[in-house]
């Protein structure tokens, strides 16, 4: 089977590919004047067909565009408001979100960020080849920058890097919550951010203004447009399944022939230590997140005294939308309706957008740089509460090899002994791990045998923080691990049965990990290939067996993915406890958390990760996807109920039994 979109992620290919070289951009900043840097001559490469214009002109263009004018008329007809009133509202919306690129602000920004980044981070490494490719791309066609999203630092960092390399600053579709940070918000705006409300579903005018704004910037090649395919910061450091709304907006000018091409640039920003790490853990455990506000960020002052290790920013190869679409799309479907009317995307367009979105994310994943901390985290999670330092060093080196064999992109310090590397990584993460008398602890085990809810919670925090680092590489492992898991669970060792089970698991975890849609077979083959390469499995077209030689790998993989599996099992168990119940997502998340907490206290599980609302949400979505849950919409409220018809079959596949006493009598 040939890949429908080229091969989005053959890990084996990535492994053999020569990697770009990273350059630390802070190094120069530490040696020369920040002020001079901020005041440097800044004349970025621009789009070759750019007709330069001021932000205000851009806004006028948006307001007078056929698209927006049409929507305004429509709303006027529907609401009875005059067009003028709605036009004014549109102008207001535009002002609210509008960026206001201003060179002085940029310089100010550059200066401040230099100072901040130098205190926070040891290094900011950038692949310069990627920068060169990007510069070329910006010159040729409108560009969309698509970074991974792990932290608020992401878009500060993006603008900072681009400024450093004398590239056009992007206009950024950023979440509105940032705007309430007064000074920072305004600064961001002046350095190119524009804001969108988090929720404007149903607000036709808002969406129209926003979409037209983005498209106008693209059509004119005004500046690179930047947004996050994941839609939000991933609290788990695991790539979130893509959102399609913005992607479809930025593709439309190409679909409609308004631009010749558009480049999409996947960018991977990897953090050795994430600024928001503990906030995320609390959030996942249901403690409401503080509103982003300037004071909030300033409180983060204390953060400035800490060390957050290195950052790697990898600019992927610009993907030409035209090349991606070549032979897959019939753009003449847009010929019959005036282009100012928005058209519901046809099925092939939708599939295309989704494919591109996944492709972008898979590129992000492949170019994500892993630090030793990720390996250590994975090992610690399988050995909590503690293991000996020496064993940890050995296992880390073992895992390094395996990760590389699986195509992981590791940055390993040169000329440093293994022990030193592990040691310095433990230091960096000393808020999560403790090294006491040659033992490394994830959390202290001094419970006097009594587990309280508080204790479960605080352990949960440690586990989830740690899990976030393991999660950085979980997508690299997903394919081979699910193959191993499938072999363990399948009815027989027949390849066919194993594949069936793999397919089930892949489907089950489709919200958890990133799989290219429709590539079940390929994913399976990829997993098998990596495993047999590492002597973990042996197989022929008919039968697959695990090899003795690879048993430690097998065990490792199973343990690595066990928390997810068990998390879903627990979710299932909780759901079928009372099958008549209607749940909202919120209710469900909170009751399942109590349920898991209770299980931990009872000692029936040690799966702290199952406390994470992320796993629970994904499980819920997956169960809906698999038909286990029914979705009911009543007066705008969405509730879920168990769909009993599939229960037993499903339970069997999860290795569980449906508690018979709970089955309604009618079914007996």
């Amino acid at each position: 089977m040939t890949a429908a979109m080229g091969s989005p992620y053959a890990q084996r290919e990535i492994k053999n590919k020569k990697r770009d070289v990273f350059e630390d951009i802070l190094e120069e900043r530490r040696q020369s004047s920040d002020l001079r840097y901020a005041m440097k001559c800044y004349s970025p490469v621009i789009y070759r067909n750019l007709v330069p214009c001021k932000p205000s002109v851009l806004k006028t263009m948006v307001l007078h565009s056929d698209q927006l004018q049409y929507v305004i008329k429509q709303i006027s007809l529907e609401s009875g408001e005059t067009c003028d009133v709605i036009q004014d509202q549109a102008a207001e919306i535009l002002d609210e979100m509008g960026q206001n690129l201003n060179l002085a602000a940029i310089r100010m920004f550059a200066l401040t960020l230099s100072k901040i980044f130098k205190t926070l981070f040891q290094k900011v490494c950038v692949n310069e080849e990627g920068i060169q490719r990007l510069a070329q791309a910006i010159h040729e066609h409108p560009v969309v920058l698509l970074p991974s999203h792990r932290s608020y630092i992401d878009f500060l960092m993006m603008s900072y890097v681009l400024y450093t390399y004398d590239l056009a600053l992007p206009v950024i579709a950023a979440g509105m919550d940032f705007m309430s940070m007064k000074i920072v918000g305004e600064l961001l705006r002046m350095s190119g951010a524009f804001f969108m409300r988090r929720t404007f579903r149903g607000n036709k005018l808002y969406w129209a203004v926003f979409a037209e704004y983005v498209k106008t910037m693209l059509r004119n090649g005004y500046a690179p447009v930047e947004f996050f395919v994941e839609g939000q910061r991933s609290r788990t450091c695991k790539t979130i399944n893509p959102k399609f709304g913005l992607l479809s907006v930025i593709m439309e000018p190409f679909f409609k022939g308004e631009v010749f091409d558009t480049y999409l640039v996947p960018i991977s920003i990897s953090y050795e230590r994430v600024l928001e790490e503990s906030l995320y853990a609390y959030e996942l455990l249901g403690v409401p997140k503080p509103k982003e506000s300037t004071s909030g960020l300033l409180k983060a002052r204390k953060i400035l005294s800490e060390n957050f290790g290195s950052i790697h920013v990898f600019f992927g190869k610009p993907m030409s939308l035209r090349s991606l679409a070549s032979g897959k799309l019939n753009r003449s479907q847009y010929n019959l309706i005036p282009r100012y009317l928005s058209q519901k995307p046809s099925e092939d367009i939708q599939r295309f957008i989704s494919d591109v979105a996944y492709k972008v994310e898979l590129h992000q994943i492949a170019n994500m740089v892993l630090s030793p901390g990720a390996l250590i985290a994975a090992i610690l999670l399988q050995n909590f509460p503690s293991l000996s330092y020496n064993v940890l060093v050995d296992k880390t080196m073992w895992l390094k090899e395996l990760t590389e064999a699986f195509g992981g992109y590791l940055e390993w310090p040169d000329n440093m002994s293994a022990s030193k590397v592990v040691r310095s990584s433990l230091d960096l993460h000393s808020n999560i791990t403790k090294l006491i008398d040659g033992e490394v602890f994830l959390f202290d085990n001094n419970t006097n045998g009594v587990l309280t809810e508080e204790l479960v919670f605080s352990r949960g925090v440690s586990v989830l923080m740690c899990a976030a680092y393991r999660n950085q590489m979980v997508n690299i492992y997903a394919r081979p691990a699910l193959v191993v898991l499938a072999m363990k669970m399948a009815q027989s060792s027949k390849s066919e049965d194993v594949y069936k089970m793999f397919d089930f698991l892949r489907n089950l975890f489709s919200k958890e990990f990133i799989f290219f849609p429709g590539f079940e077979k390929k994913d399976f083959e990829e997993g098998c290939f990596l495993l047999s390469k590492c002597d973990v499995i042996q197989g022929n077209p008919h039968e697959m067996v695990l090899m003795e030689k690879g048993s430690s790998t097998t065990v490792f993989l199973l343990k690595m993915f066990h928390p997810f599996f068990e998390g879903y099992q627990l979710a299932f168990r909780h759901l079928v406890e009372d099958m008549t119940r209607k749940w909202t997502e919120k209710q469900y998340i909170s009751t399942v958390r109590s349920f898991v907490t209770q299980c931990i206290i009872d000692g029936t599980t040690t799966c702290y990760e199952a406390l994470s609302s992320d796993i629970q949400k994904n499980a819920l979505a997956s169960f809906v996807h698999l038909g286990l849950l029914k979705v009911n919409k009543l007066e705008g409220q969405i509730t879920f109920t168990v769909n009993e018809t599939n229960i037993e079959d499903f339970a069997g596949k999860l290795g569980l039994q449906v508690p018979t006493k709970k089955l309604p009598v009618a079914r007996l």
């Binding site: 409609k256 022939g257 308004e258 010749f260 753009r331 003449s332 847009y334 010929n335």
Partner: protein, 620 residues
């Protein structure tokens, strides 16, 4: 009634002829007389076409671009205004635009080698019957090869360097409608294949013989059916045989003070029947209409019999218009033999004009506005910057009105044009027709609109030159081919709001495709808007590149043309505005007119021509 040169003519028709036919061949004094009692006006193009026309290129034998001993380009002959002139800038333009060099030359085969041609498949029964009827015919190899092609690039390339796999086996020259009826009857009787041949200017592979056609292929050359049968001044119509060429039709009507006003750029050679068969479009359609607007009555010989309507009513509601099955049928249903066509009195006054715009976008906006106000002159065309620059390359040495656009502009407007970027500006050429007063009024109206879009009037000469270029540009391709430069033009029609996007994307697609296919120099990729309509425009592209270092240039060329057409379709353009589908664009017809649409055409074909006598396999 044959008008020898120098015959006294009315003032207006003389002026008309000067303007209109200035570039055309003067009447051949001793035209090849076929001693036909039926042909009072002997046609400009003889039966033995090769005596007058190139067998391996465009146009007249005596007219071509060459480089003289000094390495300067020259246009030979006496037929055109450009004839006999030296064009000093052309060489540099070719070198700069294409990276061509005078040292890198390819030469065509000097003459046709009869033994290269595929042997004729002759249906003896058919030939006997034709002979018996006294209809002139030939199976001379030169005659056959000459009718085996139109003027697509690959056809020219084949003539220069190779040979067609299949060519007509026999040529017949009917003299009138009845001859055609008899020929078609015989064809049905003997099951031979007929391909109608008009002027041979097709640019859609329409004339190419299907390689696997096993039957005798008869090329039915309409050139001897070239009489104007009557002129009806009350209704302003003329009844004309279909084989008449554009130049003969206009000249002969002109003698009576009339014209059809239908002037496709190929009018020297293309025929009335060819126009009907391809749904042709003339430069001055804004006043006179396209062929479908001009046709009042048609007579068509099909295997099922003759199709025609019973009256000449100007409009009818009698079900779908059967003439619309014929117009655009591309020789697949039968032979158009006689056409009643609208005529107009020769215009009293003609005036050229031109407008310079700061950029193409403004130019298009202006044309759109002109169309909106429905005040388009007889012709209005907008060239992009590359074509504007190309105008410069055809600047003759002698100082005359033939100074280049650039010079012309500089001379008149050097101060005014200060703000214009010579690498972005573009030119619209205009042609006004009518009575003098109205023309001047009309002119003012158009220039006023132009001014709103930053357009500045740039003189009559620039306008006239622009139109002249379209007649010589076809000759230029032959010159290019001598120096590794191949090229072609193609066209489309597109709604107004997509004109700019389509132009930009198609041009860019061409550039990109060339690069990807290893073309070493950036290609010439240029366009102009040649017609305006209420709801859109016709856009015409020129595309040429230097193929040195490419082993299969024609294939590469065709791939790029294919890509360009895909781009056009993806951008809301039509499959063709006037060149037709032929065999070149067949593959897209289904998507263009839907499966049901194809079925409708097919069922007409099946009814009219169940044995596929008209087997050129165009369209379907």
């Amino acid at each position: 009634m044959a008008t020898a040169e120098g015959n006294p003519m009315s003032d207006s028709s003389q002026r008309r002829l000067r303007v209109l036919l200035g570039h055309l061949k003067p009447r051949a004094a001793q035209a090849t007389s076929t001693s036909e009692h039926k042909a009072p006006a002997s046609p400009s193009i003889p039966r033995k076409r090769q005596e007058l026309l190139k067998w391996n290129g465009w146009g007249y034998n005596d007219s071509k671009f060459t480089f003289n001993k000094k390495g300067q380009a020259e246009f030979t002959g006496k037929r055109y205004k450009l004839s006999g002139m030296v064009l000093p800038s052309l060489r540099e333009w070719m070198e700069k635009t294409f990276g061509a060099s005078l040292d890198q030359k390819t030469t065509s085969r000097a003459s046709l080698n009869a033994s290269d041609a595929p042997p004729a498949i002759l249906n003896e029964g058919f030939i006997q019957d034709i002979k018996a009827m006294g209809i002139p015919f030939s199976h001379d190899v030169e005659d056959r090869v000459f009718r085996a092609h139109g003027h697509c690039l690959h056809e020219m390339f084949t003539l220069r360097e190779g040979m067609f796999k299949r060519i007509p086996d026999i040529i017949v020259w009917p003299q009138c409608h009845e001859d055609v009826v008899r020929i078609v009857d015989l064809a049905c009787k003997h099951n031979v294949c007929i391909i109608p041949f008009g002027g041979g200017t097709s640019v859609s592979n329409a004339l190419e013989c299907p390689e696997d056609e096993k039957r005798t292929i008869v090329s039915l050359d309409t050139s001897q059916m070239n009489r104007i049968l009557w002129i009806d001044e009350k209704n302003l119509t003329a009844h004309v045989e279909s084989g008449i060429t554009g130049q003969d039709l206009e000249r002969q009507l002109g003698e009576s003070g009339y014209c059809t006003g239908h002037e496709p750029d190929s009018m020297e050679f293309s025929t009335l029947g060819g126009w009907v068969a391809t749904r042709a479009s003339g430069m001055k359609k804004n006043i006179y209409g396209n062929i479908e607007d001009l046709v009042v009555h048609l007579k068509v010989v099909t295997p099922k019999g003759v199709v025609e309507k019973s009256c000449q009513g100007p409009r009818m509601s009698t079900g779908p218009d059967i003439y619309h099955f014929i117009m655009g049928s591309e020789g697949t249903l039968g032979v158009v033999t006689e056409v009643t066509i609208k005529i107009r009195p020769l215009p009293e006054y003609q005036k050229y004009g031109s407008v310079v715009f700061p950029n193409f976008e403004q130019g298009v906006a202006c044309l759109r506005e002109v169309a909106k106000q429905r005040c388009a002159p007889a012709s209005i065309r907008l060239m992009d910057n590359a074509q504007f620059q190309f105008g410069h390359a055809l600047k003759p040495q002698v100082a005359s009105i033939f100074t280049s656009f650039l010079d012309g502009l500089k001379k008149f407007y050097i101060t005014k044009f200060k703000g214009f970027d010579p690498n972005r500006l573009c030119v619209a050429t205009l042609l006004f027709e009518g009575d003098r007063e109205k023309v001047l009024q009309h002119e003012k109206q158009v220039y006023d609109i132009a001014a709103k879009f930053g357009g500045l009037a740039a003189g009559e000469d620039n306008g006239q030159r622009g139109y002249m270029l379209t007649f010589v540009i076809a000759y230029l391709r032959d010159l290019g081919m001598d120096y590794y430069v191949i090229g072609e033009s193609f066209e489309t029609s597109v709604p107004w709001d997509r004109v700019l996007d389509l132009c930009r994307n198609v041009k860019e697609r061409i550039v990109r495709e060339c690069k990807e296919r290893g073309v070493q120099f950036p290609p010439l990729s240029t366009c102009r808007v040649t017609q305006t309509y209420d709801a859109g425009a016709c856009v015409y592209f020129y595309f040429a590149f230097n193929y040195r270092g490419i082993s299969d240039p024609v294939h590469v060329y065709e791939e790029i043309e294919f890509a360009a057409r895909e781009e056009i379709l993806a951008n809301g353009g039509s499959l063709s505005h006037h060149h037709g589908v032929g065999k070149l664009r067949k593959q897209w017809l289904k998507d263009s007119i839907s499966d049901v649409g194809i079925g409708m055409l097919r069922s007409v074909k099946n009814f009219v021509d169940p044995n596929n006598i008209f087997g050129n396999r165009n369209l379907l």
